[in-house]
Symmetry: C2
């Protein structure tokens, strides 16, 4: 077991690295040359136009005003200054609600920590005589403050049970209040939004084949008959996946061309050559510029042919369509009702924003979807449960004993106190972290195979998978494998009442491990996030080789976005740890509070200055967040039952089972009370917006407005080479692939104007 000393070493290391990241950030950020890396959001919004160096310093690349370096933490108050409503207008509701999760963590855990330190720490500390007698158990001094210090059968455990009740009800109270606030925010956001195509549009999938009619005609007839007073128009979906590939390839070739042209301009002596074979490693050596020019020309022709084919060939039309209605009421009705007697045909759902559509998945037949989901469920099971073995293996290796056994010549080194502390306190966390980096792409691919049709739902779905993975492998995996990896087989054969006991007993011993984990992953990791090392390097590479015009420079910026599918489940781990250890080892709680507070500031800063969201879902992820916190609460209660039942306090079990039943019930209550706000569009609100609009703009040509909104992005790019800036400004919702970010910018602007 790690002692207070180990923890302190680890804390110092992590604080130092966090501090280093922050200092690096402070220095790098102030250099005008990096301005586009750290403030891309403002460039995208068109508010910042050039590096902010003014003439006084003369130098465009390095900031020489030393006074600015002194206040290296001044981004923090700046990040907190913007009021929430302005933040919503500036960055969208998704982002604003996302950082509220950190705030929610603070709201839940600050009072819990105070209460825990006021009640449980004294209770545990003063119960301590017994442990001093048991010398063979290597209890560290941290355990003095934890529940392990209380002797079996003690009446003091009633304090823990009581606190479990208090913490649970406090969590309920905060969660309920937050859910209510956020559903109000969402409704207000939707109500104050400008006109958008998705408000009038429904995505129709699984159009049944008709022998006499094309998909186009069939859709029109069906909706003219079944929504006679409300149907306006529709847009069939073309299968342009091949075309999109060609466009993508041409874009890449164009980048290479620019690269070699720049190279040639800088060094006109040597004509750049490349090899045409695999990865440019072998094959005939040819002139690079000529090669790419011919290739691009060839691709251009292919692309034109494919484009022609997609538009004219009826087989390129998939059995799905975007159907638009004359009013929001009509669209809301169509999206919420069943159209056909065969419930696998004519499936309607509220259309995602044009930029949120995931085009590849629009044409999957119903039965195939069912099969795909079955296969992915099985795959997820294996991924989740058999990924555990390598983690345990590497962690066992990364312990003092493991290293001694495998690398005996390191023995003298690792027995030095500092190194020992480092290995024990630092290494297991890093091992875990490396494993976690591999995963999100696999999970996202799995979600895509499952056939979801919008980026936002793909993100939510991947987050669910990742959450399962984090709970099983990071949380339970760390508890079980680290302490008792050899016992795994035996563990599987235990009775359902034994499992919580086994885990419960291990729980207090694992507190120090999780404290280091929080410091590595939570503190230093978040500080690294603000430095944006990868985008920084990438920007400078692109800037050097590809950027010729101001427009190219804008393209080179990579503002990134909140990666909901990864960051939210990771965040949930902190809720889980906090809830589990709130009763068991309260000393862990301050670390979690520091994480939430620090992450809140960092992400608020990033959202204001950096991230540019790919879509806006109106906080539709909140039901998931709420559910997962409740799952964490349930796990904490279950483990407490297990822990207490090994302490000769079986009498408390029924009391704690009541808590679990209440938690499940509270989940159902929240679901019934609030969830539909995040799924459906109430008719009441639709009518209000329709009425207002009809009064203010009675002659608006909706059909014209919606005409091309849901055309596949590559089909809109008739001339890729010359971006028609002006056109796009007039029609903010032409979301072509290259200009996704630009169009989102205009939408945000629209929202901002509306809110002001």
């Amino acid at each position: 077991m790690a002692s207070i000393q180990d923890i302190s070493v680890s804390a110092v290391i992590n604080l130092l690295s966090a501090l280093f990241f922050l200092l690096a950030f402070a220095i790098v950020r102030l250099q005008p040359i990096n301005d586009r890396v750290y403030f891309p959001k403002w460039y995208l919004k068109g508010i910042r136009a050039s590096p902010r160096s003014s003439g006084a310093f003369g130098n465009k690349f390095v900031n020489l005003d030393f006074r600015t370096y002194i206040r290296f933490l001044n981004w923090m108050p700046a990040a907190l200054k913007m009021p929430e409503q302005e933040l919503i207008d500036h960055a969208g509701l998704d982002s604003a609600v996302y950082i509220r999760i950190y705030l929610l963590g603070l709201k839940i855990f600050v009072p819990i920590t105070m209460l825990s330190f006021a009640v449980l720490v004294p209770v545990n500390w003063t119960a301590g005589e017994t442990l001093e007698h048991i010398e063979d158990l290597t209890f560290s001094n941290i355990d003095r403050l934890s529940i392990s210090n209380v002797p079996s059968g003690s009446q003091r455990f009633w304090a823990h049970v009581m606190m479990a009740y208090v913490f649970t009800f406090w969590t309920f109270y905060i969660l309920y209040k937050e859910y209510k606030t956020i559903s109000t925010m969402r409704l207000h956001f939707l109500a104050s939004e400008n006109r958008r195509p998705d408000q009038f549009t429904v995505l129709v999938k699984n159009v049944p084949p008709d022998p006499d009619e094309s998909v186009d005609e069939h859709v029109e007839h069906f909706f003219r008959v079944n929504h006679p007073d409300h149907y306006l128009s529709h847009q069939v979906v073309y299968n342009a996946n091949k075309l999109a590939e060609l466009v993508e390839k041409k874009k890449s070739f164009r980048n290479w061309l620019t690269y070699y042209q720049t190279k040639y301009e800088r060094n006109p002596v040597k004509k750049p050559k490349i090899k045409t074979g695999f990865w440019g490693l072998w094959g005939k050596s040819v002139d690079a510029i000529d090669y790419y020019m011919t290739e691009i020309e060839k691709l251009g022709k292919e692309e034109a042919e494919e484009r022609e084919k997609v538009i004219t060939d009826p087989k390129a039309i998939v059995p799905a369509a975007f159907v638009s209605f004359k009013s929001r009421w009509g669209a809301a009705v169509c999206s919420q009702t069943q159209q056909s007697r065969n419930s696998t045909n004519w499936l309607t759902e509220w259309a995602p924003e044009p930029r949120d559509v995931y085009w590849d998945n629009l044409s999957i037949p119903y039965i195939q979807l069912a099969v795909r989901r079955l296969l992915m469920a099985v795959a997820l099971f294996f991924l989740t449960f058999f990924f555990m073995i390598p983690i345990g293996f590497v962690q066992a290796f990364a312990s003092i004993d493991g290293i001694k056994k495998v690398l005996p010549f390191l023995k003298s080194l690792i027995e030095m106190d500092v190194v020992k502390s480092f290995v024990q306190g630092f290494l297991p966390g890093i091992v875990l972290k490396i494993f976690l980096i591999l995963l999100p792409m696999i999970l996202m691919t799995m979600s895509k195979i499952e056939g979801f049709t919008s980026l936002s739902s793909l993100d939510r779905r991947s987050a669910s998978k990742y959450h399962l993975f984090v709970i099983v492998n990071v949380f339970f995996g760390s508890i079980i494998t680290g302490a008792a990896f050899q016992q795994l087989q035996r563990f599987l054969d235990q009775s359902p009442t034994e499992i919580p006991k086994t885990i419960g007993v291990t729980l207090p011993m694992k507190a120090t491990f999780f404290i280091t984990f929080i410091m590595v992953d939570g503190w230093a990791g978040i500080a690294a996030e603000i430095l944006r090392l990868v985008p920084l390097v990438m920007f400078h590479i692109k800037n050097t080789f590809l950027v010729k015009t101001e427009h190219d420079r804008e393209q080179a910026m990579d503002p990134g976005s909140l990666n909901f599918s990864v960051s939210e489940p990771r965040l949930q781990l902190y809720f889980l740890l906090g809830l589990v250890y709130s009763v068991v080892t309260p000393i862990l709680l301050p670390f979690i509070i520091v994480f939430f507070a620090f992450a809140f500031m960092v992400f608020r800063h990033q959202i204001i200055n950096v991230y540019d969201q790919k879509y806006e879902s109106g906080a539709s992820f909140w039901p998931d967040v709420n559910r997962r916190i409740l799952i964490g609460l349930g796990i904490s209660q279950l483990l407490l039952i297990g822990l207490l039942s090994t302490k000769d306090t079986a009498k408390s079990t029924p009391l704690l089972i009541v808590l679990i039943v209440l938690t499940i019930w509270f989940h159902k209550l929240c679901k019934g009370r609030f969830e539909s706000v995040f799924v459906k569009f109430p008719l009441e609100d639709a009518v209000v917006k329709d009425t207002v609009e009809r009064t203010t703009e009675p002659n608006f040509n909706l059909k014209e407005y919606l005409r091309d909104a849901y055309l596949h992005p590559v089909l809109k790019m008739v001339e890729f080479e010359v971006p028609k800036e002006i056109d796009e400004e007039n029609n903010p919702l032409v979301a072509t692939k290259r200009t996704t970010q630009r169009s989102s910018k205009t939408v945000s602007n629209g929202t901002a104007e509306d809110g002001l």
Copy 2:
């Protein structure tokens, strides 16, 4: 263990009692005086008017034509003769689909039985050498045919695994086909129905309070705004529960009055007296006729006051309403969409038929509903799991050893072979049966507390509870307590992989118990059903004391109805037994087939001649039936895993886990594919019906037609004493309490005409 001999004794007893019931039925049924007990359906339909004795026999009460007695089984072919479409027109879709469940049992189990006997019985039988060596295990000769006969580790178990696959896929195939057929039947039924008020009407619950408007105005304004083109009218709901009580009480007093008047007429010498105290047991003795006449008069006044109060007092209006629309499209849209931004207000659902409404539950607030459901879930848990103890106790007592121990003087009696067989084969089944009779009322009360608003949903909900109870207590309870009641505590501490093993091992030994259970509950029980002993006695009592006019006689008939909430879950037990034992002990299957075939005929006869359903839900219970059969299938697979893993064939476990995953997936597939047909009304169908009606009857006054359809039944009975026969005929949907059966009659007639 019971041997073949025991089974034979039990079979003979049960066959004899079944035969006795059938003979009694044949004799009693042919007496003209009982005609109304055995053919009430035809009376209610108005096709039969008087006992069918014609002048030739002279006697109105006893059938003397002995030729009719000879063909005492001729009701069987008669029951099978009516074609299905005619049956639907005659008895409604609910009944017609209900008896298809028995047919489904035959479709599933006849091929399974044949295959089982062709493959598994020889495999088991020829594996038998081993058992003869083990003398201490009391294997009976039935076990020769079961899986117990195959020695551990034998390769023969692959036959069982293969058969488990075949049976599972066969069940999938039949279930899928049946689900499809029944959803088509439902859609066809709904499409061919006559105009009914519920097609145009939506039940709105949780109308929020408004300080400025009454509920009446608030509802009207809300729907005029949010469904401007479709809203037609609405009917507020009065809290007439107290009034209904008064009416009920008056009706009972009126019956007593008639009783004493008849008594006095028959014996004019003695004036009948009663005591006014508790239950007529003590108190002042008064003249009965005078007493009831004054009481009725008093109640009449009270009732008039209460009626006045309900209609005029705004506080008697509950926050719920029946809102009607101009078209079926409008109603379908409103019932499927969310109205308000607060998802606990303005909850809409498709209105039940007027006669299906459960009026008492219309005004429960949302949060209260959530609390009620929580409490009922907890109550159900305790009821289900702690009811087990008395069953086990009584069953342990009702075994040979139990009786010997408690009543030692019976020792010599019960050691006689016949008595021993009787005790072993018969008694445990009866004990179980008695316990089961107590339950349905409790479960129905629990469902009512949960706040469902229609009789059909109450029935479905009670059936779910009862199904849980049957699985836990009858199925698992019989397996565990009978064999190892003392092991219960130990059992709870076993690992999740151990539990299926323990049950799996006991399974083959319990086959004989379940065979006797099938004979007692299935064979003799069904034969008793057709005799209708209780209604027979009740009818004659009423006929003697209460009937004065032909109308009174009609009132005295109790046609009964299919009690879905009890009979469906019981039926599911047979599916469960069949699926579980199909691989383990195939000898049980023929008993199940006999049950399904016999029950099919009996219930078809009852549906044609006797039962009169209280409501028509259009087979909306089918998703439950399908789900429960799949639950049975899953249990059978789980227990097979347990059984085989004790037989040294752990290699087969992954193969069987695949089956369980497939079963869950198939359930999801069915749900996605078909369930919405049973829950929602597709707009396509609504439009078709609307269009047809608009063309054929362009001037129909819908508002007038719907005016009183959803008024509380007691409020419609302005003058209870004089039933206005003619009025009711003109307005078939005035479903007053007394005339529920009559109005259903007219509806059925309507359907019949429509179908012809």
